[in-house]
Structure formats: structure tokens, C-alpha cells
């Protein structure tokens, strides 16, 4: 992702960087889009099994993680408005907060996943294989989609860490903060995807 916003040319075009980032986000959206399509069709074909399986997931865990991610979206938005006001220190604090929220999200996810794996619900495990038709698909998609999402959280966190480093080197300033803006865009996208994952997996039963 880092590559999309670097340019060797002498002239700087922030608008181009932003368009490039948005285009990249579209591909990310459609990458998940393919999975959402699979989810939609399989839910349509196995609605009872999906509803049953969704009952296994903890609404509490999901809700906490939703709040955590929404809040992290707020902090990264605030960090951008801080750098706009030439407050690099506050920008950094807000980014660190975002990273902490990302960490909380992942820890939460870790406990959630290990609970499921403990119950043998991971694809290929014995209990998983004995599930009635459709329920296995639900858990498969659950692990696939939340796993891919978690992968994006990690990628986004690395992106944010790079931004912090650049802030430390004063390479991001009040006049040149498009990298930070793009990190924000990426992070919000991760949030938007979760906004859909949350009801689809935890809430509809």
C-alpha cells in the first residue's frame, strides 16, 4: 500500500495520491465483495443452518469489537485534523491510540477465535466436519472473512506505524500530510468492512 502513495516525480500531486488510494480501496472492497456474494448465496441456500450457526457467535464480543473499531476510526480522523492544525504531537498521540485500539481488537479476536477452535469449529477439525450441511459453510466463511479482515487490520497497523515514523522525522507536515490521509482512508475502509461483517455474522439469527 505504501507504494501507491509514493512518486519519484519532482512534482507532487496529492489529489493523484488520493485517487490512487481510493482506487486501491475499490479493489479491496470488491475482494471482500466476492466473499459477501458467496455469503449471500450460501445464506440463501442454507438460511436455517446459517441462523443456527450464527447463534454460536458471541454478540458481546462482536459488539465490543465494533465499538473498538469505530472509536479507532474517530482517533485516526482526529489525528488528521490535528496535523492540519499543525499539532504533530497530538496527531502522534491519536495515531498511537488508534494502534492501541487495533491491538485491543486483535486480542479480542484472538480470544474469540481460540474459543471457537477449542470447540473444534475450525475448518477441517473433527467437530466441524460433523456439523450439519450449511453450518460448516458458515464457520468456514466466518474464519475466512474475519481472518482476511484481521489481516487487513495488521496491514493497516503497519501503515499507521509508518506514518508515525514519518511524523517523527517531520516528513509529514501541515503542508504535506497526504500519506497520513491515505492511512486514514485505509483504516476507515477496514472499519466499513467490519460494519458489514458484524451484523452478517453476529446479529442475524
Amino acid at each position: 500500500m505504501n507504494e501507491t502513495i509514493t512518486s519519484h516525480a519532482v512534482h507532487r500531486d496529492d489529489e493523484a495520491s488520493k485517487i490512487g488510494m481510493w482506487l486501491f480501496l475499490f479493489t479491496e472492497l470488491l475482494l471482500f465483495g466476492g466473499l459477501f456474494l458467496v455469503y449471500t448465496i450460501y445464506r440463501h441456500l442454507n438460511s436455517a443452518a446459517f441462523a443456527n450457526a450464527a447463534g454460536e457467535l458471541s454478540v458481546l464480543f462482536g459488539t465490543i469489537n465494533t465499538i473498538v473499531l469505530i472509536t479507532s476510526s474517530l482517533t485516526i480522523a482526529l489525528s488528521i485534523s490535528a496535523i492540519k492544525n499543525n499539532n504533530a504531537k497530538r496527531a502522534k498521540i491519536m495515531l498511537w491510540l488508534t494502534l492501541i485500539f487495533a491491538l485491543i481488537f486483535m486480542i479480542n479476536k484472538y480470544f474469540e477465535w481460540s474459543a471457537k477452535i477449542h470447540h473444534g469449529l475450525f475448518p477441517g477439525m473433527e467437530h466441524f466436519m460433523s456439523l450439519p450441511p450449511g453450518e460448516g459453510l458458515f464457520f468456514l466463511l466466518y474464519f475466512f472473512m474475519t481472518g482476511l479482515h484481521a489481516f487487513h487490520i495488521i496491514a493497516g497497523s503497519i501503515f499507521i506505524a509508518v506514518v508515525i515514523a514519518q511524523l517523527n522525522k517531520s516528513k509529514i507536515t501541515q503542508d504535506d500530510y497526504v500519506l497520513q490521509e491515505n492511512a486514514g482512508l485505509y483504516w476507515h475502509l477496514v472499519d466499513v468492512i467490519w460494519i458489514y461483517l458484524f451484523p452478517l455474522f453476529y446479529l442475524i439469527h
Binding site: 509514493t6 466476492g34 466473499l35
Partner: protein
């Protein structure tokens, strides 16, 4: 190269920006990256042509001729994977797009040059992975390039590796598209509005949108195949609630628009060439520009016509059939506008135009036989037969391939500053063109007679046309060799071509040939071209 070097302008991108392999492998110059793509694509294309030749040879007689059935199945899979993912999809955009998108708009490079180089590396890595299946593991996949589940999940061959290669190549394709879109949005020369853009840029613009929005779907689908093969959980297994037909939906949601990734750039090239060689402005500029966008959009809506016999629901078959017919219209509009441009022009039948007219003829046959595929009744008969093989070779090779050759002959003097031998190029065209038709036309007849595709062996009654087709393959390859030898000789020893040998109007002809590293000696300003001189 060295003796004639003096004849070319000294400040060209071959000389500037360093010499030696390393300077090429680390370049961010869009022209060099375009050439890197061209050289690598030429290699993979040759490999796939050889595989195709071997397949044709196998089919010259029923029963075993030169290879076992399992080898044959691997051969047509690899032929398909290489031709689709390594030649036709990146072909025109990555070679001529990289070289000429910035030049056509008077820019000094693409928007993200380093990303551009990364795309090439991803392409090479993907290609290496695809070809590694030849050497390592259980051999290359034997599923056909479509990787249909559940066979692709069951077979013992190395499907996961092939599929992963396609995934990496898809990523490369996305990044190229992203780069072009941003470039076209942001880097047009001062004064060049959207409707002043050369038509090639419009077709690239439409193509790039497909690359951005469709490719991720195949990416995730291929990941699902890998997951299914690794975990064996029944993602497409009906007894577990899945559905094998969903795989086909996902596959064609990408792969049908991908057909337009392949053909649109070729149409753009032809739209550049025809006005130049008939000395007049393109007839119906806006119609062509909009038809590119229309093709890109309607192209998203027609994937189901690959699945008319798959067990898809009745209403879906009907909807997809109507939509399929609609996509024919923008293509027809383009053809009529090209014709209208030729009419009353002052036509100079140079090799680029010859290839463009060859493109129109072959694409017409491909497109019109596509109508047979789109109609429900006839599709039932010819689906998955040699008719389809003939049809898509006319579109993909006759269309995109000839578009590629047209672009090569058109822009060659700008790229190398030299000219190839025109007479030899014309001769090579005719041999290629004739060989092409002898090779692929019999497939229509075979298909109508009921010869399914992907058949290693066939009933004796089909042999006559199979022999004709195989002989055609030899003629075609002769033509291709003649063409490439002529091009390579031109690049090494051709006469200096001058800056604007075709008397072209677009901005790439304003700079010297080959262009300097920074493309233009001074920042260009766009002026409306005066066509009729």
C-alpha cells in the same frame, strides 16, 4: 546496434538513465518498463505458441499421436493460462499502454512510476510460479484455464500453484490499471480536455476500470480454491450446503469482463491507426469513446452466457442472453465508425493499417459467431464444442493478437527510432492472416458437427478438418516467425525512421524517436490536432 547509433538522437532513453541489465531492472521509466514487458511477453507468447503447435500436432490423427492424454490435458491448460494471463490480458496495456499512455497525453511518466515497476516484478513472479509447475511437484494443472470446481479440487495435479500464479498476476493487472486511471485523471497536458484525448486513452481508461473492479473477484475465488484444496471442507460441495455452479458464477464475473480487458485496448489501437492512415479525423469520436465505456459496463452484466447449460435457472438464462446481445451493439458502432473514417479518406495501406483491417475482419468473424453463442437455442448445441474454441481464437488472437501486431508496427519507429522492412512486414501479414484462417475456421465446422472441446481423442469422422487445422497452424507459425524476424532486424539494423514517419497527429509524434528520458524536450501544451492537411 553500435554502428548505426550515430544516426539516432543521442539523448534517447536507451542511452540515458544508465546502461546494463541493472539499470533496466531498477528503472522507473515507463518506456523501459513497457519494453521489459514486451520482451518478457514475447518469451511467454512463444512458449504458449509451441504448446499450441504440439496440441495441434497431437490432433492431426485420432488416437495417440505424440503425447499421452494426461500430458495433453496439462498442455491445453498451460497454453490457456499463459496465453490469457501472461499474454492477452497484460499484452497491449502493459506494453503499449506503459510506453504510450504518458506520451499520448504529453506527460513525463505515469502517476506512480515505482508502483509501475512493482507491477512488472509481480508479473514476472506470477509467470515464474506458473511455469514452475512444469518442473516441480505433480506437474502443471490439468483442469483447463477455467479451474472449474469440483474437478480442480479433486485432481492430483498442481492446481494450487497455478491458481496462486493467476492470483499474483491479477494483482499485477490491478496495479497497472490503478496507475493508468490516476495518470489519465491527473496528468493530461495542459489544454487536453477529456474529449481531446486520443481514443487509445479512452479505451485504456475503460479497460483499467474493469481491471480494478473485476480482478479482485477472481483473486478471492482463486483463494477459495486454494483453501478448499488445503482444508477439504466442501466450499463448493452440495452435500455440505455448497454449490459447484457458484464457482462458475464467480469465475465468469471476472473472466467475462476480462475478455473486454483483452479486446478494448486493441480497439483503441485500431482507432489510433485508422485516422492516421486515411488522413482524416475519426468519424464519430464521441461515439467511439462512449462505446468503450459502454462495453466496459455492459461487459459486467453478461457473464452468465458461459453457463447456459450449467443448470442455471431459466430466468437467468433468458436475462443473460438478452444482455449478451446488447453488448454487441457498442462493438458494431465502433466498426461502422471505422468504416466511415476510411470512406473518402486518402488511404495509405502501410503494415499498421493492414493489421488493423485484418483485425476488423477477424474480429467481425469472432464477434458475429459470438451472436450464435449468445442465442439460447444455438448455444445449447455449440456450447463447449470446437465452435467455441474457434470463436474465442478469432476474438482473442484475431482481435487482440492482431491489434497487438498493429500497435507493434505502428509505434515501432517511435520506440526504437528505426523502421522495419515494410515489404517483409506486408508479406508476413499475409502469411499470418491466411494461416490463421486455415487454422481456426475449420473449428467452426467441427463444432457444428458435434466435436466437443478439450478432446484428446476424437471420432474418426472429424479427422478431415482436424488435418486442415493442423496444417494451418504450421502456416500461422511461419508467418509469426517472419514477422518477428523482421521486427528484430528492424530494431537492430533498420534505417532511422525520423520523429514522425507516419505523419501522425497525436502528441507522441512531437518528440524525438526514440524519446528522451523525460519524454519531451520542453513541457508540451496540447493543441487541437489539425487532421486534414
Amino acid at each position: 546496434m553500435s554502428t548505426e547509433q550515430t544516426a539516432l538522437p543521442a539523448d534517447n532513453f536507451f542511452n540515458q538513465g544508465g546502461k546494463g541489465l541493472m539499470s533496466w531492472l531498477t528503472t522507473t521509466d515507463h518506456k523501459r518498463i513497457g519494453l521489459l514487458y514486451m520482451y518478457s511477453i514475447a518469451i511467454f507468447f512463444s512458449v504458449a505458441v509451441i504448446l499450441g503447435l504440439l496440441m495441434r500436432l497431437e490432433l492431426i490423427a485420432p488416437g495417440k499421436t505424440i503425447m499421452e492424454a494426461s500430458t495433453y490435458n496439462k498442455t491445453f491448460t498451460l497454453h490457456g493460462v499463459i496465453m490469457i494471463f501472461l499474454f492477452i490480458i497484460p499484452g497491449i496495456p502493459a506494453v503499449f499502454g506503459n510506453f504510450f499512455v504518458p506520451l499520448l497525453m504529453g506527460a513525463d511518466d505515469v502517476a506512480f512510476p515505482r508502483l509501475n515497476l512493482m507491477s512488472w516484478y509481480l508479473y514476472i513472479i506470477g509467470a515464474a510460479i506458473a511455469l514452475s509447475t512444469l518442473v516441480f511437484g505433480e506437474g502443471s494443472a490439468d483442469t483447463g484455464w477455467t479451474f472449474y470446481a469440483p474437478y480442480s479440487v479433486k485432481t492430483g495435479t498442481n492446481v494450487s500453484t497455478s491458481v496462486f500464479a493467476a492470483f499474483v498476476l491479477g494483482f499485477s493487472s490491478i496495479l497497472t490499471g490503478l496507475n493508468f486511471l490516476t495518470t489519465i485523471h491527473r496528468m493530461r497536458a495542459p489544454g487536453m480536455g477529456w474529449f481531446d484525448m486520443p481514443l487509445y486513452l479512452w479505451s485504456t481508461y475503460a479497460t483499467s476500470w474493469i481491471q480494478i473492479l473485476a480482478t479482485p473477484i477472481i483473486g478471492i475465488t482463486l483463494l477459495m480454491i486454494i483453501a478448499e484444496r488445503a482444508l477439504g471442507v466442501g466450499l463448493f460441495d452440495p452435500s455440505l450446503g455448497g454449490d459447484p455452479i457458484l464457482y462458475q458464477h464467480l469465475f465468469w464475473i471476472y473472466s467475462h469482463p476480462a475478455v473486454y480487458i483483452m479486446i478494448l485496448p486493441a480497439m483503441g489501437v485500431v482507432s489510433e491507426i485508422i485516422p492516421v492512415f486515411s488522413r482524416r479525423r475519426m468519424f464519430g469520436y464521441k461515439a467511439i469513446a462512449f462505446s468503450s465505456l459502454a462495453i466496459a459496463f455492459v461487459g459486467y452484466l453478461v457473464w452468465g452466457h458461459h453457463m447456459f447449460t450449467s443448470g442455471m435457472s431459466g430466468p437467468a438464462r433468458i436475462i443473460f442472453s438478452i444482455l449478451t446481445f446488447l453488448v454487441a451493439i457498442p462493438s458494431a458502432i465502433k466498426v461502422f465508425n471505422w468504416l466511415a473514417t476510411l470512406n473518402k479518406g486518402s488511404i495509405d495501406l502501410q503494415p499498421p493499417l493492414l493489421y488493423s483491417l485484418g483485425f476488423i475482419f477477424l474480429f467481425l468473424i469472432g464477434g458475429l459467431t459470438g451472436l450464435v453463442n449468445g442465442a439460447l437455442a444455438t448455444n445449447t448445441h455449440i456450447h463447449d464444442t470446437a465452435f467455441i474454441v474457434g470463436h474465442f481464437h478469432y476474438v482473442m488472437f484475431g482481435g487482440t493478437g492482431f491489434g497487438f501486431f498493429a500497435a507493434m508496427h505502428y509505434w515501432f519507429p517511435k520506440m526504437y527510432g528505426r523502421m522495419y522492412n515494410i515489404k517483409r512486414a506486408t508479406r508476413a501479414f499475409w502469411v499470418t492472416f491466411i494461416g490463421f484462417n486455415i487454422l481456426y475456421f475449420p473449428m467452426f465446422i467441427l463444432g457444428l458437427e458435434g466435436m466437443p472441446r478439450r478432446y484428446y481423442d476424437y471420432l474418426p469422422e472429424f479427422q478431415g478438418w482436424q488435418v486442415v487445422s493442423t496444417v494451418g497452424s504450421w502456416i500461422l507459425v511461419t508467418g509469426l516467425i517472419m514477422m518477428f524476424v523482421n521486427i528484430i532486424r528492424g530494431a537492430r539494423k533498420g534505417k532511422p525512421a525520423g520523429d514522425d514517419p507516419w505523419n501522425g497527429y497525436t502528441m507522441e509524434w512531437e518528440t524525438s524517436s526514440p524519446p528522451p528520458l523525460e519524454n519531451f524536450h520542453q513541457a508540451p501544451v496540447f493543441k487541437k490536432p489539425t487532421y486534414e492537411d
